[in-house]
Symmetry: C3
Subunit: 654 residues, 3 copies
């Protein structure tokens, strides 16, 4: 449980650096991230490097005993680079070229830009790669942010052609796989294929999907080019990238594969995220000052999986921010709570953004641990408290890593892409559905691992698949070998890898484990809400519903009010024929958890639990005080069982 901070020495007079370092250490901070936007200072003109200031900044921080995370500056190419190579600017879907003047103004497919990035990263890595205080390197910053991926540039098109050729070998194979006979869309050659934009009506969904797959690979290869340099010159450092929350533009499993990262780091802004995602308005209102209780946890659990168990919060909200449509001040206690929450979910490090609020430029309304006048901000004071608590508690400061959970939730990036390309109705969003399942599990007090459908799932007792567009034979085999309870949500198995409907109808290969067939599907306007009840819980379907036929020995465990099956079971497999209202999701998952031998409870509103290293942490995100469900004689290592809004406590497990 270590605390960090993001710091930009180039933005402040050198005279402040030593004092800043000293105050960081006093606050209890151990890690400092620097340099990730400083290209114009490292290389003020093409080929002219100025390392002096960075040397001094590194030494000043290191001398104070701080560990450093160095960021590569590729998210902000300087003006001289853009002027020398205008083709590095990315292109929007409508053909307009983005311009210099903010950040992320680069085309991830530009060979020129990739070459420039390798050049600057090599220069940095050679100079600082073996510095003993530099314990980690971050590539770029928030890859994919601001919709600059995908880019619709000529470079992207050229590399897309090569990608397609590798995937399909011949244009005939591509035309067949894509079904281009439809609407005479057949291509005479790979070179004849365009980027899927500006078509009068929908482009072929597989065209769109392959472009997203390609772009996901572009993001990964862009990162890997830097990683290769860093592995060579910084062999002892942890290498990472700072991912974003609720962000699915690229496949993070593929990105992380083959040791492309050592730890999954991500940037956590719970309040702005709660305002921005597709939550019901009522929840946005309730949690406007605390963030939704699961909005950070979801990504903590997701990135812990992506990092193979190791994850950091690289940027943690430290107060009000600037970028959501409304930016309230967090409730008292939340800045401290978020740190404990991350630790409870397994974070090794929680690093706050940023040391001191910058009074100028784009982020001047983004708070930090210090106000612009250099006094600790309200958030800074909360971090000070947390740091002292941790330092004063052996139980907290020596906490072991979290154990594998008993419950797995499968999250799949391609499913997100497929159902974005083909929502079929305006309300359908896969990640939102997955989040609803996740929230249900968390309300039941369960710890959750979020995993890939290709992970080894054999050691879980409960496997929840909110949906999975493509179900392959390997997964069906895992089910066959499994004693766990399996829950599949709607649209599971509804597509082939080539974005087509399986020949045996959905759920495709899953029929081997669960003999059913989906005859017709529908998207629902809010006024259409087929009702049902499960175990006495009343509810209805929203967004999506299927007409399913039960084959073989499949049992119909619940029906909609028009008699169509709602919940079908076969052995240890459940299938849900619609997007159900939240309480129904919770009830059916509670059934499944019970059948898998897991204890559950419905937690008080806004209360969440998480276990790590022999401790159970409890957090109150709700508006009312709650009592943590600790055993009567529990030993508390933090706080007390009565939790006001924003409070946290932790006790030793029996």
């Amino acid at each position: 449980m270590q605390l960090g901070v993001c710091y930009y020495p180039e933005q402040w007079p050198r005279a402040m650096w030593a004092d800043d370092a000293q105050r960081m250490v006093e606050l209890g901070i151990t890690h400092v991230r620097i340099a990730e936007f400083a290209w114009s200072r490292m290389e003020p003109r093409a080929g002219e490097f100025d390392w002096q200031w960075l040397d001094e900044a590194v030494e000043t921080l290191a001398k104070a005993g701080l560990k450093l995370v160095l960021g590569t500056p590729s998210a902000s190419p300087p003006k001289w680079l853009v002027d020398a190579h205008p083709d590095v600017l990315p292109v929007r879907a409508d053909g307009a070229r983005w311009r210099f003047g903010s950040r992320r103004h680069y085309d991830i497919s530009s060979d020129t830009y990739r070459r420039e990035c390798v050049r600057i990263v090599t220069a940095m890595a050679k100079r600082y790669g073996r510095h003993s205080s530099i314990v980690a390197w971050q590539t770029d910053n928030e890859l994919g942010c601001h919709d600059t991926v995908p880019s619709y540039s000529a470079a992207a098109l050229q590399r897309f052609h090569a990608w397609l050729q590798r995937r399909y070998a011949t244009i005939g194979a591509l035309n067949d796989a894509w079904g281009n006979v439809f609407w005479s869309m057949e291509y005479p050659s790979f070179d004849a294929i365009g980027l899927p934009t500006l078509t009068p009506t929908d482009a072929n969904p597989i065209h769109l999907l392959d472009f997203r797959r390609f772009m996901s690979d572009e993001v990964a290869s862009f990162h890997r080019e830097q990683i290769e340099v860093l592995r060579e010159h910084a062999p002892n450092a942890d290498l990472l990238h700072n991912f974003m929350g609720f962000f699915t533009t690229f496949d993070h499993y593929r990105f992380a594969a083959d040791n492309a990262i050592d730890v999954a780091a991500w940037d956590s802004y719970p309040i702005a995220r709660t305002e921005s995602i597709a939550l019901p308005e009522e929840q946005k209102a309730r949690f406007a000052r605390t963030g939704h209780p699961d909005v950070s946890a979801f990504d903590h659990d997701r990135y812990r999986g992506i990092g193979g168990g190791r994850f950091w919060v690289m940027e943690q909200q430290a107060g009000p921010v600037n970028w959501a449509s409304c930016n309230p001040i967090p409730a008292p206690g939340m800045v401290r709570l978020w740190a404990y929450e991350a630790f409870a979910h397994g974070a090794e490090l929680v690093s706050y953004f940023r040391w001191r609020q910058c009074p100028y430029a784009q982020e001047q309304m983004h708070s930090g641990l210090n106000l612009p006048n250099d006094e600790l901000s309200p958030g800074g004071l909360e971090v000070q408290r947390a740091a002292r608590e941790i330092a004063g508690s052996t139980a907290l400061s020596t906490l072991a890593a979290p154990a594998r959970a008993a419950t797995a939730l499968v999250f799949d990036y391609e499913t997100q892409w497929m159902f974005e390309i083909q929502r079929h109705g305006k309300g359908f969003d896969y990640q939102t559905l997955a989040f609803d399942y996740y929230e249900s599990l968390r309300e039941l007090g369960l710890d959750v691992d979020i995993v890939s459908s290709r992970a080894d799932l054999s050691r879980y007792q409960l496997v929840v698949v909110p949906s999975l567009a493509v179900i392959d034979a390997a997964l069906v085999e895992q089910i066959a070998r499994s004693n766990a309870q399996w829950v599949f949500g709607p649209r599971s198995g509804s597509k082939t890898d080539a974005f087509a409907i399986p020949g045996n109808l959905p759920p495709g290969a899953l029929q081997r484990a669960l003999p059913i067939q989906v005859l017709e599907v529908e998207t629902l306007r809010s006024t259409l809400a087929p009702a049902l009840s499960i175990d006495g819980t009343e509810g209805y379907a929203l967004h999506w519903r299927e007409h399913v036929r039960a084959n073989g020995k499949t049992r119909i465990a619940a029906r909609f009010d028009d008699a169509w099956p709602a919940l079908l079971t076969h052995g240890n497999v459940r299938y849900v024929a619609g997007w159900l209202s939240h309480e129904l999701h919770r009830t059916l998952l509670r059934q499944a958890a019970r059948d898998s031998g897991l204890d559950t409870q419905v937690l008080a509103d806004g209360l969440r639990l998480r276990r790590r290293g022999g401790l159970t942490f409890a957090f109150n995100f709700g508006a009312q005080p709650v009592q943590a469900p600790a055993p009567r004689n529990a030993t508390f290592v933090l706080g007390e069982p009565r939790l006001n809004t924003g409070d946290v406590c932790a006790w030793k497990d029996a």
Copy 2:
């Protein structure tokens, strides 16, 4: 009463064709439409034709006894054509050029593309034009769909110049007619005129209108170029185009004139249409699974008129579709009901879209009569039932064409364009107003002919003109000679042919039949609702209201609560000085119907009637069971008087 289907042999293995044909016949299908998107298979490379597959498909279907409708493939130019002639791609209003990758990616004004279309249609027509099983040809597919008309291309501009020169002869005449002295908009020559787009504020409304008139003519002439080829090479076939519902981009009366079509065919998707058009949210909710009771009937009646009495449904919704913002599954019975509804309104053929759901490409979520696994879909089973009912009933299978109705509703395309260009308030939409009048007539149990204002109206008892922007002398003369009751809605006669206010104020020439003058007009926010009552029915104006002065002997039959006239009458002519709430429209039309000697009744909610060939059909689109208003001793040839949701019955008229 014949049933058809749309079929795409190129999308399926040849091994399936014969079985498909056999199963179609068994289902009761007599007509099959094919080929309309298959250009890349007919001509895989420029000038290299491959007819072998199409020959075989035609023969296979013909041999099974099916009649064929052949579509020309001009809605989907292949990639080699686009690459050879990039100028065939259309241009958006913002100047961006549409790209290949879906369909309708062609500029209707491109001379190159027109030449290419004549070339492929000639080749097709020479080969198949005299085939005895090919009973009809369809040009293109859904002309104007996906907003590719208008195109803002250089070709369009050049042809627009020529069109203007033909219309105005001299630039001085154009400047005068357009009123270009306003804002110094005068043009030195025809060539100096641009397309009306990207102007800092509104373009001159007559500039916009003439561009719409021109584009409407472009659509018609594009079609006629193909018709000329087909008339020569397929002299015995019915020639048609498949129009769309609620679609007003071009003037269908002008399109159909001079025998440009033999039958008006259109594509009917009642549920997606109900979701898409500007209906009150409450109605969208009520009819989400049945479609609004009048949404298909409106176009059945409109296209029966456009086809001079002959119309087909070329594509009929067969289950859930993919393109509305929400896509519910139809209520049980609707797929069957829609066929009877079309027949009752006079359809010769109802052809379902499509034979089998295509598991890949853009329309994979669009249902058909068969599921992707080749079993009959729920909709397919309903068609099977209807086909057997018809085959088993002489009354149904030998039904005569419908008689002329006693009630005419005038629908005018230029009025739509004028009031789209100049809504004056965001809620005003002419077609929606016309639909509200139509709905009122249908709720009263009346059969309606939808006709052009230039039609011979002398044999109607009731003529309803929801609005008509330009009233010409010929219409005033028809009124003078008529014994019918005439009802004119607001904005009637408010414009000249040159899109100006008549010198004698609105309603212009109508003042000769009805001496009134419109002094001022207003558009109404929803909170402004001038109240009134007619014959005890309470209501209010919405969207639009006029301050009208009654001249001469004009009688004020109803007033708004601020004393301005609401309903004015003179002889057999009524004028309505606002857009009234629905029940008021129904009451005033009931008055007019009564005065014209027509019997009316207010039908039960969701119930509709239609008479054809001595039968009265009744349909229940409502949520509750209703009793059809058949005479006590009526002979039923279909169903029974008690109608559940989705039910239909028919009885012999006394």
Copy 3:
């Protein structure tokens, strides 16, 4: 109190001109504005002038005894000019170039266009500058309308570079001032700077602000180029421009400085403005037919200040208009009321738009004093009544100019720009906040001067500053010397001139007068509404709230329900730590007015008062009749104390 009208002789047959002039005089009109869109008639081809028609029009009007206002035609460059110089067309933020076909299709930064404008204005001014009947000249028309300012053209970029060089002298100074070290945004030279558009995320706020400052200066210099010509050739005429209501694209104080205008004229459309601005829906509904009671008054008071005491209404709404999203007909009486309202606020002239409704082109749905058939419109009849009343009353026809008010409201254009660039939350709009304060003062019966923060404020008793982004030393010195009560709203002093947070935290320099510091700020979703009460009035904060620390002897006069200060006072200065609900604004301003010795009363709903030249005018914009608060024995020179909707009265002050 004089009445005018806008007239377009070029739009009507010459045979009508003399009669029009005669009827104007009969109606009581004294001033006629002409010519401002007639370039294509003055100069039909490049360099070929046709003055004959304009000579005749001028003489016809002058002979009837009318005074003329001549408009320069630069708002509508003719087609031949645009064709000869396509670079005069402006460019949108997305890079698209606007086209000919409406008006305002010119780039204000185009040297070519500026040269052409000086040329045509010189020709006009030489011909008509010393005509005795031409009493005023108007430059252009509604500068900045239709979002053609800013233009993102190459010409604008070039002039922006020069403007920046003048402001910052060296690129290093600019990089420092802009904080371009942030995100490596440093520029190597002025020429390397782009226009702030098409950046993947927010551009640097100071980049955006300096571009707005530059564009504001461009508007002013464009106008001044014409003024210089007119001063030389029309030395005796009043020079003016017709500004718009609620329009803040350029700084009107800077525009008017150095005698660039003699009188501030503006165009008043109360009903369309009420529909268009960010008022609560409830207010839009209540005042849909009268206009909001303060929507015209706000700009009357603003432009009276900008004109140094002299202001005209150049265009006054005369009936329903065409350009809002809904366009209702004004309530009876309003067209007359608006004239008296303008006079009461100090207008010298109220000129109606327009003489006769034009039946063709873009404004055909815009009413005038005459209908298209040349009879007086309902609005025309109201003007006739007002003209007769004024002519018949010495008190009205010889009314003195209004005195300075006791209350000043500071309005600042740069504050508008800064908070548009950085709303921080979607609901924050500075002008709307200023309007809410203004409305509160007016509901209290106070007369208000709207002034610049740089004005001499020493003679006011109450100074209200709804917000002021940058507070400079000069203002702090004014406070120090002042005996007035000062009220500062939220975000006051929150920025430096370089768009940064002050080093001593907000409110920056204001801390010298009021020792407080703003620690954190938040924007509020509508469900977050911190409650408070002031003097028994209950309410809440919306849109914006601050966490403020009271330093020194600052007193906390009210707190939010979470204990944070809401109202802080120190001596004669108040600070409001949030955007309060309307009644709270009124209560706190009533406190401040009381403390400054001003009498207030809460007027009846919809009632407003205004004093001028010894008279008090009362206006009823409300739906219910009200009693004007005249003294018992008041002498009425207009109307009577009981006021129905749309009524006005005036009495002599005791």
